[in-house]
């Protein structure tokens, strides 16, 4: 599978996620945010980081990057589109996912492992998991508190212990069709027992269409 990992000015997890996807067998390419053609890519990842320094609101400026028209096109044709952390925030700002993000309830950056429970197995991200399984994955964000005034968002993963006030405990959210998914914790950081967990691999394998069962 050919995967584009988009690099915005201020992205910082692009190489991490590209490396892990590569190890899982994907052909990964880092694509600068000014790229206007993603022809030939089977899926796209918007990685974590601080695109445009989080100026104004997280993701507010990144959503106007030239590459975003192509991300929307891929989403519309049903290709898997995955936003991790800041990538999730960008997808919300771009209207490709419902809701928006505000500061964590306790107004502190949170970097630690959290447990998330699978709430929906109908998306590529969770295709290899079972409903209710619990995964240990690092969270790393200041604005991880998801708000969805419509209450209609499709929640894919929920925090077991609410760390940040996110509505309905949402840790990952999908589009109605299920091919656009945003996840706040970082599956690529749970990719090796040496780093404390490899629970993220089942999610990223799902993205590559090769789910490994848990």
């Amino acid at each position: 599978m050919r995967v584009a990992v988009v690099v915005f000015p201020g992205s910082n997890c692009e190489r991490d996620v590209a490396d892990v996807l590569h190890d899982l067998g994907a052909e990964t390419h880092l694509v600068w945010h000014r790229e206007t053609d993603l022809t030939g890519f089977d899926g796209v990842v918007l990685p974590g980081g601080f695109a445009h320094g989080d100026a104004l609101r997280t993701g507010a400026i990144a959503r106007f990057s030239p590459v975003m028209a192509e991300v929307a096109r891929l989403a519309a044709v049903g290709a898997p589109v995955l936003g991790i952390c800041n990538g999730f925030q960008i997808l919300c700002e771009a209207g490709l996912l419902p809701g928006a993000f505000i500061a964590n309830r306790d107004l502190a950056f949170i970097c630690r492992f959290v447990e998330v429970e699978v709430a929906d197995t109908g998306t590529f991200l969770t295709a290899g998991t079972r409903l209710g399984s619990v995964l240990r994955i690092p969270l790393n964000s200041y604005e991880g508190n998801w708000v969805d005034p419509t209450g209609q968002g499709r929640i894919v993963l929920r925090y077991v212990d609410d760390p940040n006030g996110s509505q309905a405990g949402a840790a990952a959210v999908a589009s109605a069709e299920g091919n656009v998914v945003g996840v706040m914790p970082h599956p690529e950081r749970a990719s090796d027992p040496l780093l404390g967990s490899d629970d993220g691999l089942v999610l990223l394998s799902g993205f590559l269409g090769a789910p490994v069962p848990v």
Partner: protein, 79 residues
């Protein structure tokens, strides 16, 4: 021309900053503070003197970029 844009979070959306500041004020003894809401103000210096055009263009800036319609309302004040 100077333009001031006030962005305020809709009342039904949580405001963790406001809540935290209220708690801190109470700890400092300012218990009379019943509520705190934080807004953002953006001051623009615009190279254009046509009031109508400036108002229209800043309105577009707000709806496209400066405010997030999911969370926020905005107000544009010229001058």
């Amino acid at each position: 021309m100077k333009v001031t844009v006030v962005i305020n979070r809709r009342p039904e959306i949580a405001d963790p900053e406001g809540t935290t500041v209220r708690r801190a004020l109470h700890e400092l003894g300012f218990t009379e503070v019943a509520e705190v809401r934080m807004d953002r103000v953006i001051h623009l210096d615009v190279d254009d003197d046509d009031q109508d055009r400036v108002r229209d263009r800043v309105d577009v800036m707000c709806s496209r970029l400066l405010a997030n319609p999911v969370l926020e309302d905005y107000l544009v004040v010229l001058g």
